[in-house]
């Protein structure tokens, strides 16, 4: 019997994990005995996205390994026990806890440590570094304290990539933030003076104070040992509670050094092209290694390449690392910064093409040869072109268009973007995983990957920082089309049409039911079927929005419509996790009289409903059973309320700020306009929900630019913004038209909404629709402002019909006994409330009883309800 060779990995960071993954992918984990010795208390996590911890990503979400990764591959991971010594003679290591482990191969992946300049006071309480999750926990806690008991000022020493990221984090924690950079500009390694100036301007606009060209002399410390501020080399000083050092990193080469392995003059474990140290049994990879080209790489992509090289060798293949590209693109505090290839024009004979607009914080420089081949570049403020340009840098191919055209902003001269076809096959598309365009094409043609997720899985492209995903999508589509694969863009298994095509079919043929649509236009194999949960509500929405044109009933509980709607539309309420419903009355513009507010309070109290103010400037009442909905609504309708359509793909809310009536800055009556818009578009069925807001001045308190259509008052009238979105992929709305009168504004919104209803895909918010639109905002402007398609009159007419035909769905339902019949919990026991809808008390209100939801069997329901909605008495009166 042979024993498996033992591989010890010291350090479980990003590169260490990539090493394990590469071994697992090749199956080598089965032939090796793998042990990981880690200093940190948790397995490898995504250090690159460390800062996202402050925007709500949890430490668990940052973990790199899938659940069960180590067990699945038989890897022994020992956390929180760092290696303290290596005995190369005996081939053993010793850990802090005193364990001694033998190895056949030792892989060092110990990363780096933040460099803290040797200034007086650097160890005071309140001084931090920015490298691990624990560092962030500590900074977060101290910042809270500083805000309540101190001045609330934070300073970052170092204006490089990490320093600016740390500054963004401090700002986000609510501190007054300063950045101190010794060099004359920010990010001195990546950008030149012009780029630095554009960056500085934008960062200062965000309220971060930038000090360049000065060094930190001391940290001033109180008698109690806490930091109180800093003094600088130019004699000035700054009071600060919290100091983050981000003055570069140094390789953690101490273990290697003390075991006699050669290290570089400025640190880093010396390795050859195979990432082997002087001792053939010991490798070093990642930020701790001094690569054969004499550099220590502080980026993750080169580290991954080293990890892959060593994993290949342990799998009896060849692998080497001889150097890497230092291109970077990042989004710092919302500013795009990219630097790639020969960014500083070091190549003999290199020429620059520069566009600079420091007012807008945009700086673009391309470095080219005399023949027009791209060498590199720096992009600040607008790095859109990075993904298509970087792969071209250094390939020697002359640019397909003039470099001037590439740096000019869209709108000045013809907008130019390079598609995927401009790239040569050997151009690296994904920098993080070093994947070329050729490999991506091969994934499609040879490994029959037919979608971006499949290509990602197959090549790993796009699974790092994500910045190449857009280009990846273009390349995959191009390749699929070239190889004659027809991408099925159909709505669902029942229809081969998109939502837009179905809309056109209904509009032209005037087919008023889903059943006929399916029988006449469905896929042959689905024509005889029931339809599905995708096409039924889609058809219902299209038919509802065209109802006046079809002479069909617009009421969503009528006829066939009753069977097509999502459950929420069916009950005109939103289903909640325990099967109860929420009730959201419309409160146009968020304006409400005291009397109406009292009615809501009384209804909630009488029915025992949980009450909450929503994010949409209105009130949500939770915990109603199906049987209660008509009773609740009859009270609300009597008091003058109507459905808020919180359940439908329809207009939700038009939020407002208080505007010129009260606010000293207001220039228009934003509340009146918000109410007018909400009443005009209420009930409009659309491909996805629609949201709006109106702000009374440029301070934008209503957050209109986060909305599908947002209106901001100007001294002259209204500015209309379109395509905004909150949610998971926020997008600021784009300015469509300026200084409009009330009538002009409404006419333009009418056209915009109807054009969206007509051409968007199912569940496509306006932001995604606009991003997908060929020609983008400019095309939209031509269609709805210039009427380039000649459809504006028709769009306006459709909206006029909607406005005159609108009726409140709840009032209509209450008038109709047939419709009311469906609001019973049990068809065989009308009037019996659903025993599974139960509540418990919390903070003086109800919440769903989770015992019912988690109970193994249904027996729990045989027990008498402790608290049921209408009977609830949580407050002692």
């Amino acid at each position: 019997m042979t024993t498996k060779p033992t591989v010890l990995l010291v350090g479980y960071g990003m590169v260490g994990h990539r090493f394990l993954e590469a071994l697992a992918e090749s199956g080598a984990t089965q032939r090796l005995q793998l042990t990981v010795l880690a200093e940190e208390p948790r397995p490898a996590y995504d250090r690159v996205h460390l800062t996202s911890y402050f925007s709500g990503t949890s430490a668990e979400e940052l973990l790199l390994a899938e659940d069960g990764f180590a067990e699945k591959h038989g890897i022994d991971v020992r956390l929180g026990d760092p290696v303290t010594a290596i005995d190369r003679e005996a081939r053993t290591v010793t850990t802090r806890a005193g364990h001694v482990l033998g190895y056949d191969t030792l892989v060092l992946a110990t990363g780096s440590y933040p460099f803290v300049p040797p200034v007086e006071g650097k160890d005071a309480e309140g001084c931090f570094v920015y490298r691990t999750i624990e560092d962030l926990h500590a900074i977060e806690a101290y910042a809270q304290q500083a805000k309540s008991t101190g001045r609330g000022v934070g300073a970052v020493v170092g204006g490089g990539l990490l320093g600016l990221e740390a500054a963004g984090a401090l700002k986000g924690l609510g501190l007054e933030t300063h950045v101190i950079e010794f060099a004359p500009r920010l990010m001195p390694v990546q950008v030149d003076d012009g780029g630095g100036a554009a960056l500085r301007r934008t960062i200062e606009d965000m309220g971060v104070v930038v000090h360049t060209g000065i060094g930190t002399r001391t940290i001033t410390v109180s008698d109690g040992g806490t930091a109180t501020g800093m003094t600088f080399t130019d004699g000035s000083d700054l009071a600060a509670d919290l100091v983050v050092f981000s003055a570069g990193v140094r390789p953690r080469d101490d273990l290697a050094r003390s075991s006699g392995l050669p290290v570089g003059e400025r640190g880093g474990i010396v390795v050859d092209a195979q990432c082997r140290t002087e001792d053939p049994a010991v490798y070093a990879i990642g930020e701790c290694a001094l690569a054969v080209d004499g550099r220590v790489y502080g980026l993750v992509a080169p580290g991954y390449a080293m990890a892959e090289a060593v994993a290949a060798q342990l799998n009896q293949q060849s692998g080497s690392f001889t150097g890497a590209d230092l291109s970077t693109k990042l989004k710092l505090l919302g500013v795009d910064v990219a630097s790639f290839g020969d960014a500083f024009g070091a190549t003999p004979g290199a020429l620059d093409v520069v566009y600079s607009d420091s007012r807008a914080g945009v700086y673009k420089k391309l470095v080219v040869t005399a023949e027009g081949a791209l060498l590199g570049g720096i992009l600040v403020g607008d790095a859109e072109a990075y993904m298509s340009l970087r792969p071209l840098a250094g390939t020697g191919t002359p640019l397909p268009v003039s470099p001037e055209a590439l740096v000019l902003p869209a709108g000045l001269g013809a907008p130019v973007s390079l598609g995927g076809s401009a790239l040569p096959d050997d151009a690296v598309v994904c920098n993080c995983h070093n994947v070329t365009k050729g490999e991506i094409r091969a994934a499609v043609t040879e490994h029959s990957c037919a979608s971006v997720p499949e290509v990602k899985k197959c090549t790993r492209a796009g699974t790092g920082c994500g910045s190449c995903v857009k280009l990846l999508g273009t390349l995959v589509d191009e390749e699929l089309e070239a190889s004659g694969v027809v991408v099925d863009k159909g709505l669902c298994p029942c229809f081969a049409h998109t939502r837009t095509e179905l809309y056109e079919i209904v509009r032209v043929t005037r087919i008023p039911t889903h059943a006929r649509l399916l029988a006449e236009h469905g896929r042959p194999e689905a024509r005889d079927g029931e339809g599905c949960e995708v096409c039924k509500p889609t058809a219902a929405s299209i038919i509802a929005s065209l109802a006046p044109e079809l002479d069909a009933s617009g009421h969503i509980l009528d006829g066939e419509q009753a069977a097509l709607q999502d459950s929420n539309d069916h009950f005109l309420a939103n289903i909640q996790r325990n099967g109860s419903y929420s009730v959201v009355p419309r409160i146009p513009g968020g304006e409400i009289t005291p009397d109406k507010l009292i009615v809501i309070g009384e209804v909630a109290r009488d029915f025992g409903l949980y009450t909450k103010i929503t994010g949409g400037q209105r009130i949500d009442l939770f915990g109603a059973t199906v049987d209660q909905l008509p009773q609740i609504w009859s009270r609300l309708v009597d008091a003058g309320f109507e459905s808020g359509h919180a359940y439908g793909k329809a207009l939700r809310t038009v939020k407002s700020c208080v505007g010129s009536t009260w606010c000293r800055y207001g220039v228009q009556d934003s509340v009146a306009m918000a109410i007018q818009l909400e009443l005009r578009y209420r009930g409009l069925r659309s491909p996805h929900k629609l949201k709006s807001a109106v702000s009374g001045c440029a301070r934008e308190c209503a957050e209109a630019r986060g909305k599908d259509f947002g209106v901001i008052a100007t001294a002259e009238g209204w500015n209309l913004y379109v395509g905004g979105n909150g949610g998971a992929t926020p997008r600021h709305a784009d300015l469509l038209a300026k200084d409009l009168t009330d009538d002009e504004l409404i006419r333009l919104i009418d056209r915009y909404l109807m054009f969206y209803v007509r051409t968007a895909d199912r569940l496509e918010r306006t932001s995604a629709w606009l991003d997908r639109m060929e020609g983008g905002l400019e095309h939209l402007r031509q269609v709805i402002v210039e009427d380039s398609l000649g459809i504006c009159a028709e769009l306006e007419e459709l909206m006029a019909h909607h406005v005159t035909d609108y009726q409140d769905e709840w009032a209509a339902t209450l008038r109709d006994p047939a419709r009311l019949a469906r609001f019973t919990s049990f068809v065989n026991a009308p009037g019996v409330p659903d025993p599974s809808v139960r509540f418990v008390a919390e903070r003086d209100q109800i919440r769903p009883d989770l015992n019912v939801l988690t109970a193994e069997d249904e027996e729990i329901l045989a027990m008498p309800a402790l608290i049921a909605g209408p009977l609830l008495e949580v407050r002692s009166r």
């Binding site: 298994p493 029942c494 039911t513 059943a515 006929r516 029988a519 006449e520 689905a526 005889d528 079927g529 029931e530 339809g531 599905c532 949960e533 039924k536 509500p537 066939e560 009753a562 069977a563 097509l564 999502d566 459950s567 929420n568 069916h570 009950f571 289903i575 996790r577 325990n578 099967g579 019949a821 919990s825 049990f826 068809v827 065989n828 026991a829 019996v832 659903d834 025993p835 599974s836 809808v837 019912v852 939801l853 988690t854 109970a855 249904e858 027996e859 329901l861 045989a862």
Partner: protein, 121 residues
């Protein structure tokens, strides 16, 4: 071939829907109360809940009303559909689909809900 009928009024108003529970057919409601493509919930004497549906061809189906993924009693309020000849209901909560004949979950073989025989009489 004509398009499948959609008008509930075309169904016989005196037809009863029944489901088979513990060996006995239990009447549930009049067939006219079922809208093709939608469901209703039925409370059994022992406290169990059943979701009953009718399809576009007028056939009736019954499965347990509890959504095993969330624990809530809501399947009767889902939308029905068909795929590859299988009739199903999609839970209104997290949209997993359940076969109306066998109770099996289409997304996950290891999950199912009880299935009941149903008929019109």
């Amino acid at each position: 071939m004509t398009a499948p009928t959609m008008d509930p009024a075309a169904l016989d108003l005196t037809t009863r829907v029944e489901i088979l529970v513990n060996g006995a057919w239990i009447p549930v409601c009049d067939a006219s109360l079922l809208v093709p493509g939608r469901g209703v919930a039925v409370l059994l004497p022992d406290g169990r809940q059943v979701a009953v549906f009718s399809d576009r061809h007028g056939r009736v189906h019954a499965i347990g009303n509890r959504d095993p993924f969330t624990g809530a009693f809501v399947l009767s309020r889902g939308l029905t559909g068909s795929a590859g000849g299988r009739l199903y209901v999609a839970s209104p909560l997290l949209k997993q689909r359940f076969d109306l004949t066998t109770g099996e979950c289409l997304e996950d073989d290891s999950v199912s809900v009880p299935a009941y025989s149903a008929r019109t009489n």
